[in-house]
Symmetry: C2
Subunit: 309 residues, 2 copies
């Protein structure tokens, strides 16, 4: 059983202090699939223009992505250009051209409609609704969004929450959505509207999963060279959902592991431009990094001596 | 064998969205001692004016602090007033009056001079040097500093690093000190100048310990109500050094545990104004929170299945 993923399939031009990449593979569906297929097959739905180097997606097909849901339309592909600052935590958007993405109406191929795991990338909440309307009986729906929709499409987004089991957003977004600066309270606010799981991505500071009565915190992997942070969040989502689909069930254990796999894939995504590092990952790379995450946080907690209070 | 702590003994007036506290106990030496004495005796060196409610420090003496190094001078005590914003991550300083602290010259009582563990709170690096000049053979010297000294007293601060085994600063400070945005590289830069351990405190995002060839990351404890973050960093330092002194040695295991104890104490400090929460802590409170830190980050990492790459 595949994961259904709907999102942008884009071309990015990215400048960082370390170099430049021009019109390279990008978009939430591409990063998500590049990460998720490390663990589990993915069915991709999106749209590209006639300028898209579609053969460059062959590596996804080779490791289990079904790309038959990527529509080819006449016009230009979604294009984004950005420049990262010296500290790589902030970036300026230099150009955004929606192209054929402006009229995107996700059409889920019949063979994709029995998906159990669904990832709704960051697109118009109305389209996210349309996707779910076409899926017969999704069990695990995860959803991303952004400030643009939180401000401009608040009602459809709030309606969507009741159809979503896992919301994945960054810290700024969950605070804005709930109008609440405290992350725990903001997560609780979201949970009251549907999602049982809220994942807050905090970039270099890691990610927190809020469940009903427990919390899991995975730190950001300390990278000596962050080459290009573009797509780290979608790669996180791909690693997370890919592992969950492989595990086949949502348990505290599988969710905790999924957070670590997500963080591992997010960290790999930052090591090269575009999906380059995700392309040449090996199982050994992934297992080694997961083991590094364990060493990063493990401690012995037997009492050393009594406290003085 | 006690920990020697040198720092400010102050009065704070603090406003948060939740309330106001006027002229309450504050200062790095007070928060540090309130946290460290949970684990180990502390010898405190500082200065107060004749307006200081010295009896309010009795609770420290009761749990093993030797306050005989706190000098009483004529004049006003160090006073700081601040107001936290709605999100509690930013604050405005409303008033700073150095008072008798302006002429502070740390005099280490003879009975304190054989200290093995020394914590140099955030004071003028020249005074931090003076303290070390008076200690016979310190084994573990930990030191805090701030942007004011990094800018204004760079040379004495860099000299100090060669006498320090553990530098504890926040992320902004280590980046400024090393003139390097990448935390790992900044920590390495510091290590090249002396300290074998660099601890980077990141507030709600936790803290990272950089050792020679390993890293430990303790997340911030997710608090539903951050009441007053004042002193969280010094409470972290106190919990950290208090546990290390109790353990009696620096090993990877004791350092990892110390990071968790430090974070636990830092999180408690935020739950009430001033040192109120640290005053009434029980050993059970501390052990429970350490166990919560374990649950927050623990995951099983046995392979669920092979990766597809």
């Amino acid at each position: 059983m595949s994961i259904l993923c709907v999102g942008s399939v884009a071309l990015d031009s990215v400048e960082t202090p370390f170099g430049k990449a021009e019109r390279v593979l990008g978009g939430s569906a591409v990063y998500f699939s590049a990460a998720a297929t490390v663990f589990h097959p993915v069915q991709v739905v999106g749209v590209v223009g006639d300028d898209y180097p579609i053969d460059d997606l062959d590596f996804l097909a080779e490791r289990g992505a079904d790309l038959s849901g990527i529509e080819r339309a006449t016009g230009n592909s979604f294009f984004w250009a950005g420049r990262y600052h010296f500290d790589l935590n902030t970036r300026d958007t230099l150009d955004t051209q929606l192209g054929v993405f402006a009229d995107f109406e996700p059409k889920i191929p019949p063979s994709f409609r029995d998906a159990r795991f669904v990832f709704l990338g960051n697109i118009d909440p109305k389209l996210q609704h349309d996707v779910l309307d076409q899926v017969v009986a999704p069990e695990v729906v995860a959803c991303d969004t952004m400030n643009f929709w939180i401000e401009g499409s608040r009602e459809p987004l709030l309606d969507l929450l009741s159809r979503v089991r896992i919301l994945m957003v960054n810290d700024e977004e969950v605070r804005q959505l709930a109008d609440e600066p405290n992350l725990m309270k903001a997560a609780r606010w979201v949970q009251d509207r549907g999602p049982e799981i809220v994942i807050v991505k905090k970039g270099e500071h890691g990610a927190i999963l809020f469940a009903d009565d427990w919390i899991f915190y995975v730190p950001g992997y300390p990278l000596e060279d962050v080459f290009d942070p573009t797509g780290a969040g979608d790669s996180f989502a791909g690693g997370f959902m890919g592992h969950l689909a492989r595990a086949g069930e949502l348990t505290p254990a599988s969710l905790r592991q999924a957070m670590v796999y997500g963080s591992a894939l997010g960290s790999f995504a930052c090591e090269r431009f575009s999906v380059e590092r995700l392309k040449d990952l090996t199982g050994r790379d992934v297992r080694d990094r997961v083991e590094e995450f364990r060493r990063l946080t493990a401690f012995e907690s037997h009492a050393m001596a009594e406290e003085h209070v």
